[in-house]
Each structure stands twice: as C-alpha cells, then as structure tokens.
Symmetry: C3
Subunit: 202 residues, 3 copies
C-alpha cells in the first residue's frame, strides 16, 4: 500500500532525527550521530526481520531507508537549534511513526506466515526496539521500560489493525483509524500522565 510506504518513510525520518538529537545531547561525533540515527530508525525493523528469518534485512533491499536516515542526520546538523522548540510537532510525528511501524511490522510478519499473536509482537518490536537500542547505546535504562504508555500503544494499534482487518475493513480506512488510535493513546497518556501499574515496593 502506497500510504503505508509514505508513512513508513515519514516514521523513519522522524525516528532518525530523534536518534540524532539524543546522540548530539550525548556529545557524540558525526559518525556516532549517524549510527544512533540509523539504529533508532531501522533497529526495530531489523530485529523483527532477524526474528522471522527475513534476510537480508529490510534496509538492505531499498536504498530509500539509508537516504532518509542520512537526510535526518543532515537536518539535525543544519537545524539543531530550531528543532528543539518543535518538540510538540515531533511528539505528534513520533506517535504516527509508532503506529506506522507497528502496523508495517505486523504486515511483514504476516507475509512471512507468522501466526497473528506473534505478528502483533513483531509489530511492537518494529516500533519500539530501535528506541530501546538507542537508549542502551547511550547508556540509559530504556525509556519505554519505565514510563508512559508507549510500547503498549504500539501493541494496541497492531492488535486493532489485525482485528479490523478480520472484519474486512478497507485497508486505507483501517490504517487511518488505528494510527489515530495510537496517536490518541499517546496524547492522552502524556497529557494526563497515565501510566501502567507498577509494583509498589519490594
């Protein structure tokens, strides 16, 4: 679907810029920034491909991904000061990227005959593991493990996309609906400081 492809490119760009900004804050050099941008944008999909046995991995089959990551690095270098005040816009695009990657990851897993329950997890992995690897490389406890409903939003998005698909909902409409759902969950989670339960004390 051309719509998924376009959203996929947008998601990749946003994730690459988010990775590049994190790396820049850690005082990394150009290569470090490039590697972190790459890993943030493409790491989740790469892990999914490795798990389902799709090789060579996705970014080796379409040069657009490398170009978009490089573009993200260039944008970060050129406009680093202007990017920081745009956090709100970024938050929106990041939520869209989360939804798109979750759905795209689900679709790819289904193409490789992965059973639905695992395919949903593959969607969540595609959407969140890039950010997790970024945080590990920056020597932080990954954000998605600690706060806000993030991986959960990806999980829900992929699940509903699959569910609606079973009811023969038009793919384009399904895409719009489920991505809107992911974005809504993210906005509500951040605005109302919603979180998942924790264990009180140990």
């Amino acid at each position: 679907m051309i719509q998924i492809y376009i959203l996929d490119i947008i998601g990749t760009l946003v994730f690459a810029i988010s990775g590049a900004l994190t790396a820049a804050e850690k005082r990394m050099d150009l290569m470090g920034i490039g590697i972190i941008a790459f890993v943030t944008a493409l790491g989740g999909g790469t892990l999914r491909d490795i798990l389902i046995g799709a090789h060579p991995v996705g970014w080796m089959q379409n040069i657009h991904y490398l170009i978009v990551v490089a573009l993200g690095v260039v944008i970060t270098f050129a406009f680093s000061n202007q990017l920081v005040p745009l956090r709100r816009t970024f938050f929106l695009f990041d939520a869209i990227g989360l939804g798109v990657f979750a759905i795209g990851g689900l679709e790819k897993a289904l193409q490789y005959d992965i059973a639905p329950v695992y395919a949903i997890i593959c969607g969540m992995i595609s959407a969140t593991m890039g950010g997790l690897i970024r945080d590990v490389l920056c020597n932080e406890v990954p954000l998605i493990l600690r706060q806000e409903i993030y991986a959960t939003a990806g999980f829900i998005g992929a699940s509903f996309y699959l569910l609606f698909g079973h009811f023969n909902l038009m793919p384009e409409l399904n895409l719009v609906l489920t991505i809107s759902l992911v974005v809504t969950i993210r906005i509500l989670a951040v605005r109302f400081k919603l979180g998942l339960p924790r264990i009180k004390k140990l």
Copy 2:
C-alpha cells in the same frame, strides 16, 4: 523428551519471575516488567536460534512460552512481597533452569547439525544470555561476567550431557545426572564463595 519439556517450562517460569523482580526493583511499569521477564526467559534461546539459523525463533512456534512468561509476570505482581523471602527456593529453581536451558540449547543446536563444540556454546548461550540482556537493559554490568560460577556451570552441564550421551547413557538418567551436577556446582560456588581466577591488577 517430555521431561525436558516440563523442566523447560519450569525454567522459563523461574527466569521470567527473576526478570520481573529485577525490573520491579528498577521501578519499571507493567510493560517494562513484561519485556524484561520475556527477555530474561526467552532471550538466550532466541539468540541461539538466530546464531544457528532456526527461524522463526522458538517462542514463535509454541504459545506455551508466551503464556508462561505472562504467568510469571502475574505471579510477580500478585505475590511480590511473598517472593522475596523465597530467595533460597528461587536459587534452586534458577540452578535447575540453568541446567535445563543449557541441555535444551545443546540439543536444539545438534538437531540443526551444529558441531558438538559449538553446540555446547549454544547451550551456554541459551542458559545465560537472557540474564545478560536483562542486566544490559537494566543498565548494569551483567552479573554473569563478574562473579560466581554461573555460565561455567552451564558450560560444564552441557559438556557432560554430551559426553554421557556418547557413552549411550539413558537420556532420562543423563538429564537427572547433569542437572544435578549443575545444581551442585551452583550450590558449592555460592556456599564456599568459589570463583574463577581474575587478573590481579592492571
């Protein structure tokens, strides 16, 4: 072998609970606890499957693994306070899990025509890399790299299982013997504070 399967399930449950407890101590939320439980229990076997080219990876082929991990998370949430005093029982089950995963990992590698010396390493990877990834995600230097005879016990267990198998020892007896060996090594290592040599100073 049905015995391996039952022990494998027990090992998965214990490793999942151990991961969930570690994550809870790090103040992670439900999703973080779930991800760490998952990774601790299934990460080692997943890495083994990736290295030997078994795809899709094991946990995508039998729903029991996901269910057992989920069960481990539920148990941790429900009984977190009661679990901590059970450290001794846990230590025992963890040692059994170590032995079972090492032997199960060896067996699977052999099924994929991996030569014995590498299959033993695959056993050790299955048994220890989940805990290693857990520690990396929790931003700690992995425990198994620093202290106590742990990975070494898995290595010895897998080696002896292979050796006894060559002498046509009955598989069930072999399993009991080598797992007992692993558990014994672990108990002795902890009780007498045995450790491997280090380099004095650098």
Copy 3:
C-alpha cells in the same frame, strides 16, 4: 585469499586481547574475560552474518576462531603486566585488524549477493560492532560513537577496496594499499587529535 586469512587471524587475536584487557580492568573473572574477548573479536562478524542471513554464523564453521580467542585470553592472563606498556604496538595491530575486518566483512557480504553500498556497511559493522558490544557489556557509552575517527576509517577502507577492485587492481596490492590507508587514517587521527564534526550545543 591466504593473505586475508592470516590477517583475519591476527585481527581476531588483537581484538580478543583488547577485549580481555578491558574486561580485566572491569574486575571480571575468567569466564567474563573470555566472553568479552569472544564478543570483541567475533561479535562484529557475527552481527554481519545475522544481517545477511549467513548461518550458522562464521565462528561455528572454523574452529580456528575459538582457538585464537582462547589464545588471546591465555596471553592476557600470562602477560597482563607486560601488555600495558605495549599500547603503541597494540594500537598498530588494532588499526590493521580494523582494516582487515572491514575488507573481510565487505568480501563476505558480496559473496552473499549483497549490493555494494550495503556490503561496505557490512564491512564497517564487522570491524566495529564487536568493540561496541564490548563497551555496552562493560556499561560504557561505546568509544566509537564518541571520539576519534574509527568506524569512519573502516568505512573508508572498505569503500576504497571496493573501488580499486572495480579498476581490476590486483587483490594483494589492493589489500596492502587499503589497509595502509586505514592505518594511516588512524595514526593521523590520534596524533593530530582529528575528529568528526559535532553539534555545538543543544
């Protein structure tokens, strides 16, 4: 090419010793030192093999790699005090290892029909990701992300090797030239404290 093979073994040995020394500084025990030596020397090639779908991964197909890593650990234990003053010699061998792994990684990717642009990245991954995983396991922000022209030197080496190959340069001469190039870049980078651009402040 026998020359690549010999250099590959030298590179593996140097990387294993470098990993073992880092682990020893972190007060790890023998098994920890062995695992870090293994990961530093073979982790990059293993990741490359996983990405391109070459399985079982390389070190499972030739026992020499395990033997050389073990040899590196033994050397580190036996001569740890003598090794530290040899930093300069090490630096040289490390630079040679960087070049060899980058070229060897490129060659293996090309054998698996990976397109040239990705094969160059595979070369860089082979040469640098072992050190990156080592740093992650030692709970450090990976060195290659922060300073000195390192991954970049591997990237340039692999690129020129491919370029010269297109002009039908004799493989042996190509190898000597491009490895000399990598070593020269590394020496210049360290001597003149050359670095890649960073983002000033955020």
